[in-house]
Symmetry: C2
Subunit: 125 residues, 2 copies
């Protein structure tokens, strides 16, 4: 049995998403128990959106789904690591490959992201 | 100016720790604003411990400090990625290299961790 400690953070656990081939960290999402079970049963990364308060299959709108290749959990059973194949090459809603496209340097941030798609075209906004 | 959204989660943000050379994800910690500023000013990964409710310099007890090589933040300014050099080779208090040593497979977990130190020797417990 897999016992994740969902109680620790009001029903949500952080889930790191990493490219299973390159090791690049692509994003961090949150899962509740329903999202976790959906991820396990469908093999597609599924999160809980804190802003819209609903289950969110990653890539449902953009097509940039994340196919789960391997899952790990940590020592305390309160963090999840998904190793995935990123369909479409971009994980970020901004169109960048990774959500972590801002490098912190000398008190400010620099955009070092690789643009993959144009969000205006994909989301129409 | 770097504007992190600490309000989103009651003053805490998740911080992923990744080996800056191998890309291996080693752990996930939480930072409050004090821990974030300390990480920036000292160059050593510093977190907020939710269990002991205090600032925690990673490796202060075990010696396994994390020297920050690069920092990134994500699209929404609510997640942090630290790329670090792991002193002593182990990030996990269990003595494993990575905290993510449990692989999820067919409804259970399998320990695939690389033991680096004996926690009984290091923490005396």
């Amino acid at each position: 049995m897999i016992q994740l400690d969902f109680e620790k953070m009001g029903g949500l656990l952080p889930a790191i998403v990493q490219d299973h081939q390159t090791g690049e960290v692509l994003m961090l999402g949150f899962m509740n128990e329903v999202a976790w079970e959906a991820t396990l049963s469908t093999g597609q990364a599924t999160f809980y959106s804190r802003s819209s308060q609903e289950i969110w299959v990653k890539g449902e709108t953009s097509g940039n789904r994340q196919i789960v290749k391997e899952i790990r959990i940590d020592c305390d059973n309160d963090s999840i690591l998904l190793m995935i194949d990123q369909i479409g090459g971009a994980s970020c809603h901004t169109g960048y490959r990774s959500c972590f496209y801002k490098q912190v340097k000398d008190g400010s941030t620099q955009n070092i992201g690789k643009p993959v798609f144009d969000p205006e075209e994909v989301y129409g906004k």
